[in-house]
């Protein structure tokens, strides 16, 4: 599953970092969906379209894998705010140099 998630993210431009969180990444046997935090580095004017592209891509991946993805899309500045309750539990899956 992680391989497919990584492959999907690597195929999308603008993703500066990708993190996993929640029950799936804690290794729990039962999980409702797969929670991903995606840091997107693009111009504000492009953010909505980029978000649509990423969400659509993971909906398609979810349909292929038979799972649902719950995406939290943040800008680099938002991620730097540490807005999540469990920031320390995030699992880094992908980071792109220069982002």
């Amino acid at each position: 599953m992680r391989t497919e998630i990584l492959r999907e993210a690597e195929g999308l431009e603008g993703i500066a970092a990708l993190y996993g969180m929640g029950s799936y990444f804690r290794g729990e046997a039962s999980y409702r969906d797969i929670d991903l935090v995606i840091v997107v580095d693009c111009a504000r004017a492009d953010l909505l379209a980029k978000g649509h592209e990423i969400r659509r891509s993971f909906v398609n991946l979810g349909e292929r894998l038979g799972v649902a993805f719950d995406l939290t899309i943040l800008t680099p500045r938002e991620f730097a705010e540490k807005p999540l309750r469990d920031m320390d539990a995030l699992e880094l899956l992908l980071t792109r140099p220069g982002n």
Partner: protein, 136 residues
């Protein structure tokens, strides 16, 4: 208004039902009605203006999420992200304030909807610092 509908945004009826209760009992709102499962329309008694409120369930609402809501529902001027477990980023709050859109979590929405400029509503902690924009 109390029917258990369905939506593709992953918003549970328990969340919607809670907001039905909050808005229905709010002393500054009248004519509260619901459509598209999680969108509410209401008129404010004191100000005489109209609100379109999106009931969401977002763990950490960022600018992209706000844009997504507004793209789907352009008339929305209040975004409720859910209970105290949920939140929104400072950047999302700035984005909303600039556009005169209120973004709230938990009980923030109750006092905010009494104020004329609800998008600027603020709540201070014991040290006098704003609690708005803080994550969950």
């Amino acid at each position: 208004m109390n029917d258990n509908g369905s939506n593709s945004w992953g918003i549970a009826f328990s969340r919607i039902s809670h907001l039905i209760s909050v808005l229905g009992s709010h002393r500054n709102l009248t004519g509260v009605r619901r459509h598209d499962d999680f969108i509410f329309e209401a008129d404010r008694t004191r100000q005489g203006d109209h609100l379109t409120i999106a009931c969401m369930d977002e763990y950490s609402a960022g600018v992209e999420f706000v844009m997504k809501v507004l793209d789907a529902f352009p008339s929305v001027n209040v975004i409720y992200v859910g209970g105290n477990w949920n939140g929104y980023t400072e950047e999302a709050l700035e984005f909303c304030k600039y556009r005169h859109i209120g973004i709230f979590r938990g009980a923030e929405i109750i006092p905010a909807l009494f104020t004329d400029d609800f998008w600027n509503y603020d709540k201070l902690d014991a040290d006098g610092n704003s609690t708005r924009g803080r994550g969950p």
